[in-house]
Symmetry: C2
DNA sequence: TTGACTCACCAAGATTTTTTGATATGTTGT
DNA sequence: ACAACATATCAAAAAATCTTGGTGAGTCAA
């Protein structure tokens, strides 16, 4: 089934929203090197635990990270597929190359 | 000069924030076909002019669109370069392929 | 010059997102 | 069982974003 325009726009907004906050970008930056537990992240960013928990949830809801529970710890990891999807969605917004569309002279 | 980590994160947040709103995504979708004036956009989206003006400014500040004044009209157009930049920034967030990093057993 | 028109911008209000501090749940080691 | 720990979640406050209605600047045609 092909997605509707609206659902594509909604998903596009969601995934890019997840990427639109500096704290989340720093989290992702740390996670690029591989799985980390929340405690590693809080000490790396020197941020309150509940704050990171909030941001990790935004990333997880958008599908950008996955989590793995192990004992008392929860490990987060980046999800390749979501990044590939983000590239595709971005491509879907790019200007279409149209041969030679002349500029409008007047308008409306 | 190579950009600082902070400035890359800031720029990443800005460009993806611009792409994180459905109204702006719809605007971009219309602009994919080529330059349009604000009046075309307001009638296409059936939205208040001041509302679109706000969103167009967000897109313009992020560098995603350029504008061109002609008489009473202002034409907006997508900017290829910014989309290329967005792809690069997105790539800079992707998981790095690390040979075989074993999962942490314990933690902290 | 006047009036109609396109658009940017501003201020106020509405809505959404983020931060903070507190509490709850489950785990581990003693 | 108990204490220490890791994490999620909640409510309230703070901050940021978005919408709305209004105004003003510039352009054009009559």
């Amino acid at each position: 089934m092909t997605p509707t325009h609206a659902s594509v726009a909604t998903r596009t907004a969601e995934i890019f929203h997840a990427l639109s906050d500096e704290t989340r970008i720093e989290l992702i930056h740390i996670l690029r090197r591989g799985e980390k537990c929340v405690c590693d992240l809080t000490s790396a960013l020197d941020a309150a635990q509940s704050r990171l928990s909030f941001h990790l949830k935004v990333l997880k809801d958008a599908g950008l990270v996955t989590d793995r529970k192990q004992g008392r710890w929860v490990h987060y990891e980046l999800n390749d597929h979501a990044f590939a999807e983000a590239h595709r969605l971005l491509t879907g917004l790019e200007p279409q190359v149209v041969p030679h569309l002349k500029k409008a002279e007047g308008c409306c």
